[in-house]
Symmetry: C2
Subunit: 449 residues, 2 copies
């Protein structure tokens, strides 16, 4: 049994037009199977269906070369961009299916485990559940999600042997195991091929039976792109006065976290919270597959294999653990993550919220948010009080597609902390930024006072 091939081109030599390929990788560039994707670009295979969380540069390149006709992804885009992918979506050249991240890995895992379908609470009451069977078990409602499989999986690992056993490093496990399992042919590119027996049995992250081909990486990985953080120390003006800065919002949100506890920090402003809990009895969870990480790494520092759910490098901490995204979402859906902090475009008076698509977008960025609010955690939204056009983000009723229904407990804006009272509903102002009154804060929303 020798699964090692000489080159990435050999490893993908039988990929035909129309193939469905699951591609691992997380965030901007981490864990991207670049040599396999570049080889596929050179091969010129067309009408591909790509399954991925989001598309990293080496996968985007296939789109730029018009090799792709279909996407099954959690993210087509984030706000404010207009990429070749979006152009091709707009023109109808590419069709897409958006899948919540936790549902994506569960569907792939089911496909790879010989199961036909699962019932999950993720996406209830949102567009994701439209047209799907919804069913009640023990008084709770669940959506039927069917298994997904792929013709190929392209995975990146650290080391592998000729039996196909793969070792991952740090947080770069994420989609590797579930995508490999779901594929008829799983292909793994690694930094190093080792002799059989060199990988300790306990360090095999993907046993060889799930892997069909192994190849050593060629060429450099895509360079990490600098995180595009908005300055944390600038404040917006409301009524001619400054609100809280993002750093202050994060500090205030951190102070609201119960301890001991497990907390998940979403993309955007919530990521700053990690800098305010280092001395607290709080364990941070990231849905890519990390538990117990530390503050954001300073620019130019950090281990490239240790990152949060925004793909930002974070510090290692004692007691940390790494696992795949399937396990990461088990922690979420089962209610073990006690608090979830998310960004949002809109939150309405009933606690429903929208954070994955605006009318300008082709597609959207669902990510793990729908899973994160499906587990019964306390949901905390951090967002500016108004959007970039000066419109209130606390609205009477969300006009953007929903992420979750009646689930937001606390909103931290740059003007106030608002808490929703259950079951009566409605947000009450709990504290306000210096120089503002509760009444002003409420008047700057569309909520009923």
């Amino acid at each position: 049994m020798d699964k090692v091939l000489d080159s990435p081109a050999d490893a993908i030599a039988d990929v035909e037009d129309g193939a469905r390929i699951a591609i691992s990788g997380f965030g901007q560039t981490a864990g991207s199977p670049v040599s396999l994707l570049r080889a596929l670009g050179e091969r010129g295979t067309r009408r591909l269906c790509l399954i991925a969380n989001g598309l990293q540069p080496a996968a985007q390149a296939l789109i730029n070369q018009h090799q792709v006709r279909e996407l099954i992804v959690s993210f087509t885009t984030r706000a404010g961009t207009r990429t070749p992918m979006e152009e091709q979506i707009a023109s109808g050249e590419i069709t897409f299916e958006l899948v919540p991240q936790g549902t994506l890995v569960e569907r792939m895992r089911a496909g790879g485990a010989g199961l036909a379908a699962i019932y999950t609470p993720t996406g209830l009451g949102t567009r994701i559940a439209e047209g799907k069977e919804v069913r009640c078990f023990d008084g709770r409602w669940y959506v039927l999600e069917t298994a997904l499989t792929a013709d190929y999986a392209f995975i990146a690992g650290l080391r592998a042997d000729r039996l196909g056993n793969v070792e991952f490093r740090g947080a770069n496990v994420h989609f590797g195991p579930s995508f490999a399992k779901a594929a008829r042919t799983a292909i793994v590119e690694v930094d190093e091929i080792v002799e059989v027996g060199e990988l300790p049995a306990e360090r095999v992250g993907l046993p060889g039976i799930f892997v069909d081909r192994v190849v050593r990486r060629r060429g450099a990985a895509d360079p990490p792109q600098p995180a595009q953080r908005r300055p944390a120390d600038q404040a917006r003006q409301y009524l001619g006065r400054p609100g809280w800065t993002r750093a202050q919002m994060a500090e205030r949100a951190a102070a609201l976290l119960p301890e001991p506890g497990y907390v998940n920090l979403g993309l955007g402003i919530p990521t700053y919270i990690s800098s305010y809990v280092a001395d607290r009895d709080i364990v941070l969870h990231a849905e890519n597959g990390v538990l117990g990480y530390g503050p954001l790494a300073a620019d130019g520092e950090g281990d490239p294999d240790v990152f949060n759910a925004g793909g930002q490098l974070v510090a290692r901490r004692p007691g940390m653990s790494f696992f795949d995204s399937v396990a990461a979402f088990e922690m979420i859906r089962s209610g073990r993550v006690g608090v979830v902090a998310l960004g949002a475009y809109q939150v309405d008076g009933d606690g429903s919220f929208a954070n994955w698509a605006t009318p300008e977008m082709q597609g959207g960025g669902i990510g793990g948010a729908m899973d994160l609010v499906a587990g019964g955690a306390q949901v905390m939204v951090l967002m500016e009080h108004h959007d970039s056009r000066g419109r209130p983000k606390l609205v009477r009723s969300c006009t953007y597609p929903l992420t979750g229904v009646r689930c937001v407990d606390v909103v931290v804006t740059d003007l106030a902390v608002l808490r929703r009272e259950r079951p009566s509903g409605g947000f009450a102002v709990e504290s306000v930024a210096p120089g503002f009154t509760s009444r002003e804060v409420m008047e700057l929303t569309e909520l009923r006072g």
Copy 2:
């Protein structure tokens, strides 16, 4: 966050009458959470529901003390015994639900992952599917199995820290992760409590978020019980002449295995096959969670944490890997294990077979067999030509409850190798033991010639 408790008694101090407890452990004694079970015996808690693969001595002791009212297990018993458990089942004191091993871990895993139910092919056409919804997806049929949860899980591990991070050793992972996930309160006993940071992040087999309490093991583990292997070198007599010995049957079966390939060896005669494939390009899979193991260890030798699906100690081999039972059954159900070798009570002419219950049993021993035949593998049955009462085991139609329908491809008895021709059905003799004719072999069955 400090999850370490002083004693097993403290760790189980809130377990009340009627509690549902999932108990990890595999085979005769491996990985048994003995201190927690002994503490529960002393506490005297009653009317317990135990969820387990099978009951090891420390759990049996709870039954002997009449503390148990319900079992959800893969094995209540194996043939030829009459334990206190069986007495209590017979008298109605204990009720039980038999669950195929792969379905047991999937149901627990679903419960621990916030899912309500799954559709699995396991158990189709058997008693296990009776009364359950059966549904077609993409032309194949699946059984709806609902999630299982528990009030407590009792798990054994190697080391843990106060955050609840657990390291397992060797094959003693099996039910630990899925059972812990499914429990409201997961309690882990370990050989050693270490400082936070001493467990490398990549060696955490069960992240602390899934663990509520940790305690150091007290007292000795239950002593391994000597394997009760029937002599491999004795032959039964048919028509006054000796057939093949068990060793010869295993050797013959081994010669039929295609290579390279992945092969699962079930309990009984199939376990001997591992001694005849060491120099072959064959990777042995055991559904407890081992891939790439070696021959059976000699008596008194072997690593107590390295065992096959019969709980027998086996040799380590380069390229081996360990994983939990959920992953082990993913490999099976997804069709990656190419050949499955099983024992059986009866095989009929259509290739249906029975191997988990006889009319004399209270309950039975389903184990992983129904999962093993659900993945589309080549199914090879190894069994004596006649049962201990001299009745043919190759029958016109199975009278014992079925394990799988029309799935057996090859039967190796102590008189012959028979192969079923698909799709026409019916077994043809492929080779016979020395001194016998094909006709004699067929006449010693109930099959139509």
